[in-house]
Symmetry: C2
Subunit: 518 residues, 2 copies
Amino acid sequence: MNGADRLCETLLANDIDVCFANPGTSEMHFVAALDRRPQMRCVLGLFEGVATGAADGYARMADKPAATLLHLGPGLANGLANLHNARRARTPMLNVVGDHATYFLKHDAPLTSDIESLARPMSQWVGYIGSAAEVEARTSEAYRAAMRMPGVATLILPADAAWGDVPSDRPPVRTTLPDLAAASTQAVRNAAETLRSQRRVALLLTGQALRAHALEIAGRIADATGARLLMQTSNGRVQRGAGRVVIGSVPYSVDAALEALHDVDAMIVVGAKVPVAFFAYPGKPGLLVREDCEIVDLARPGEDLVQALAHLADELGIKANTPVSVSPGFTDDATLPRGPLTDEAVAFTVARMLPEHAIVCDESITAGASFFRHSQHAAPHDYLRITGGAIGIGIPLAAGAAVACPDRKVVALQADGSGMYTVQGFWTQARENLDVVTIVFANRSYAILQGEMRNVGVEHFGSNAKRMLSIDEPTLDWVSMARGMGVDGGRATTVEEFRTLLEAALKQRGPFVIEAVV
Amino acid sequence: MNGADRLCETLLANDIDVCFANPGTSEMHFVAALDRRPQMRCVLGLFEGVATGAADGYARMADKPAATLLHLGPGLANGLANLHNARRARTPMLNVVGDHATYFLKHDAPLTSDIESLARPMSQWVGYIGSAAEVEARTSEAYRAAMRMPGVATLILPADAAWGDVPSDRPPVRTTLPDLAAASTQAVRNAAETLRSQRRVALLLTGQALRAHALEIAGRIADATGARLLMQTSNGRVQRGAGRVVIGSVPYSVDAALEALHDVDAMIVVGAKVPVAFFAYPGKPGLLVREDCEIVDLARPGEDLVQALAHLADELGIKANTPVSVSPGFTDDATLPRGPLTDEAVAFTVARMLPEHAIVCDESITAGASFFRHSQHAAPHDYLRITGGAIGIGIPLAAGAAVACPDRKVVALQADGSGMYTVQGFWTQARENLDVVTIVFANRSYAILQGEMRNVGVEHFGSNAKRMLSIDEPTLDWVSMARGMGVDGGRATTVEEFRTLLEAALKQRGPFVIEAVV
């Protein structure tokens, strides 16, 4: 058995059985080892950003990491933007990056680069496998880091560690995971005391605290104490819709966020980061809560967030079977809009037509901003969003979620500017026949940037600004691009056309693209 | 005047008047400053790898850097693979990477990352602009580094350095460039002595030594001494074809390279790297020359390679006006092949039909391997190749070369697997109406990797290997993808169809894609 075989065996022993891959020559022994193990599902992306974005979507839904297989520094570099998003989502992921043989690095061959320097900014953990004998231990460490940091673990596999002989042939041992650390008793008491005070308190949640069962506990706390439930602006996954506890999110825009958080005297954070602006603006604060807002840490990332909420409820004397306020679902008979298609009409229509237990992948940026509001009472669904602001995650994220949950419909809300970043992901959706309907908001501009340009005081765009902030001239034909990659699609310019296309797409299985001209 | 204005002025003072851009919010003040200067040509890429690859192609042809405008760590990350190629080509380039305002970094906002750690592996020079007052000096340093290292200079521009006031309003001073360092007299003498010895000597060239006038000097040396002329496997640009000095290149495959270099007793390197294998293979050497081959450094990268050759010729007593052996052009009346299209037929046909002074951008990998041989006596042309092995450069490289040389036809030879990496580049070709004909070798596989898989001893591919090394199922429709981005195209399955399409594409102006099904 060689090191590459050992790596595969160690992954499989830990139930990692999906590998999003884009291999090169230095990974050929690993490819050969994967080929000897048909129980490992290898999913090819035609660009590494597709592989890493899909691994993110997969793990958000499967609650376990996928492996990725990336080719040296440049292959890793191509995947970094989506690793950045995964790092911010704290998604467990295990990247295997091939490197030149250890003894070969001195030659500084054309593809040589400093892989660790590239990996570190976008990984919670980085490890180098010095030899075949080290493969099992290092892979086990990487798995533990991915599951318990939790986050992105990047393992560098030199070619000679892959092809070298492993001394022992005993099967790899399943990695023991330590229990999640518990929030401290003192933290629970502090949070309870804060909630019992007369101040206006918000609970800020993220991570596992946004799953339905955790939100029920948080909802009972809110019902009992009058605290507000909030989640970060960007989260990996939240379970919401009819029958689920309703939770708002911190707005993206600085002014709206300041307004929304102005009356918060104390904020209890549950695995979350205290809200800060996405960007600095001259004369505007970075911190979005009031300077005198008290921050109470209930639990930190890597701690057991769900248990922390349960302990907090206990401390407050709230029984586990207390009924909790949830979304009643849509209670009106709103008629769908008609006529020319708009962002708002798309968001409204998708929310109303969303199938039960759909997975919504949202990289609609400005265009789909109203979807979150419209879908508060939609059919119960999982909502996955771009987390790190690195655009180009939507198409791959949807692919990965669909690999993890083959029996659920994935509905991807996709801005056109961002969609172009990893448009190659459609091909993977076609090859794997993934059940994804992608709705492209074709506004033919970087609309968010046009707004930001006005924010810096430029009202009238000259030629250079127009050419950098618009993506018309020529118009992108999404149906043609998707068909070129084996995904069928249609174009809608009216609400009626959009609705007809969406109905058909939701009924069929397999990928479909709707270009919504808005 | 703010820092961003100062940056633009400093770039323009140094004749940098093209910016390949993909901006984000943190770069809005820079965008506004560019917008105030219509003399700066801003070219938008729909992905940062397009911007960096195009900047590489531009500078290879213009012999001066373009600027790029990249958005924070993830934007830089997306451009890194093509920066890797540019670094290996030693292409002068000046990247401007926006960062959060200096005082804002402490908030660790979603898009925060360690930009320096990402930049360093793929840049010859990295600098951080601490404030608006530093903009001119740092930009000047970056320009000098780009021109004189030469190579990739990456400048990190925090938002507050962009929007901050610059104390002085005097116009920026043009940066003084030191003369290129001269090769040492001793190095020239050593090289001459080597050439006068009875040993079999090769001159290994790269960089400026591959321009027509430098090759004439090298050719005279070869004619006079019997030395062999060789260039590196991968070079940024070489001027070749009819009327030019003929030069071979070190083969890519280890076995072929060992064979080709076996009889070389001494190698005089002119800005080049001693040949090493692209990858390590068990039991094969990394160094491609014999262990006892003497290496004689005539000139190092960053030294004046052309002058070094001229001094060497002087030292050997060769007169500057001595006639030199050059390619006579095609001397046969070879008829074009007929019938089903093959790699070989495409390469042969393109070589025979190549227009005078075309720029050939070659990322054909395995499929176009024979083009180099077939085009030895083609019409005079510039030949630009992928240099660092990071695939996804072809489409952007062609775009950048076309921006630099609007009066020359660009012929891009593109492998399909690599082409998908930065397929978004077609849109930039369409928007700028660039005169590029792209020939996609649609072999529907990572053919090079299938060969490498056999090299590691796997003859029969299982399902996983097939799924990772083939890109059929579904078949990519290049004509449909290109049209979706505003570039017209056609598909050829026979030599006759191919020839008809190529003839038409060469006659028209503007981008065109030919899918050559091989």
